[in-house]
Amino acid sequence: MSVIWAIIRKDFQMEFRTKDSVTAMWIFSLLIFVIFNFTFEVSRLLMLQISPGLLWVAFIFSGMLGLNRSFQVEKENGNLRSLALTPADPGLIYFGKFFSTTLFTLIFEALIFPLFIIFYDIHLSLLTLWIIPIAILGTIGFTSLGTILSAVAIHTKQQQILLSLLLWPMITPIIIWSVKTTGDVLAGDLSTAFQPVIIRMIVFDVIFTTISYLLFEYVVQE
């Protein structure tokens, strides 16, 4: 347990010293929202249909940024190798990196969401709170896989390419489900498919987190 905390603590200590990624994330989200808000004169109905997708584009961007930050620091001075050389259980190292990346991404997302509400004139209701579990489930799906694939990518030269090549196809389902459920919530009307999709998201997260946890030991070896 102390290993997981030590890693999360360390990542946050470092992140609060360099706030450039937060700035980049804000500017990017702002751009997406501005472009799609003012460039297209579309009806409110159509906007409601595309806005969940836009929100998730911004969320995924935050996630990519979070992953990148999280593993850049483990790469610079051979740190991932040195972590693997400690007596700490590789599974705990995985969870440390996974949690810290997830927390970062969720914080980024929480900063983006108010922007989104303002730009798209979203009507808030109690139902809107559903966005929180949906964001958490969608983000975990992304970061659980992203964490292990980033570790794989450290050992290869063209890491960014490999990362996106492997990551995108695998996370497609959870992204689609996230956009769908977000759409329901924003429309203020949960369809009959809502609940089964949420359950599918939970199952996806549990499966991929478990697999990544079990495989991490082999990934950090040479």
């Binding site: 200590q13 040195s82 007596p87």
Partner: protein, 242 residues
Amino acid sequence: MIEQVPAVITAEKLRKEFGRVVALRGVSFQVPASTFFTIFGRNGAGKSTLLSIISGMAAASSGVIRVFGEDPAARTQRHRLSVISHESFLYDNLTALENLEFYGKLYSVQDLKERTHHVLRQVGLHHRRFDLVRTFSRGMLQRLTIARAILHNPDLFLLDEPFTGLDQHATEMLIGLLETLKAQGKTILLTTHDLHIGLRLSDQYMILERQQVVETGSASGLTEDALREKYFSLISSGEAGQ
């Protein structure tokens, strides 16, 4: 019967293949406790591969490796060893103290607070403990790297060409530290292609050439010239690779 001092490292017929590339072809040797053991060899001789297997980072394709009597892959002896390479293993955006505290937790170091202050004083960085590592000079970085490596008080040090990129001053400092560790009875395994430094520190040495052991011996009484002559007669001309 006289009980024999068990070797800290025992390697028997270690072989390592990366696909069709052979990185080690049947390497056997022993490193007794409290010995400074140097492995000489050219680029591609297999030094780093050997060290990864000893540290448990890589598995041998065949052969037997024992460190403190156990298979390093079992990870039970991790707290007793420390690896130093030309990479610092430090986090640039943490302070010196935060770096040590972090690694101390991963090694479950007892009385971590006192221990971090102790090693920081030992390497002369105590007054800079609240400064970010990215503001450190090369020499200070080197000292903190050493502080990190001795933090959990290991018995065995694995050093893979640690002198790479160091200036005269930093080199002397590292040599001084290695001499201190040696005097403390630590077991040290060093790889280098610098015959001068290697010989100066070693009790025993081994020459790797074309992924094989071509010579082992005691370093005492051996002059640098004799070693140099031996080394260049053993390593044949051309590429060491394949």
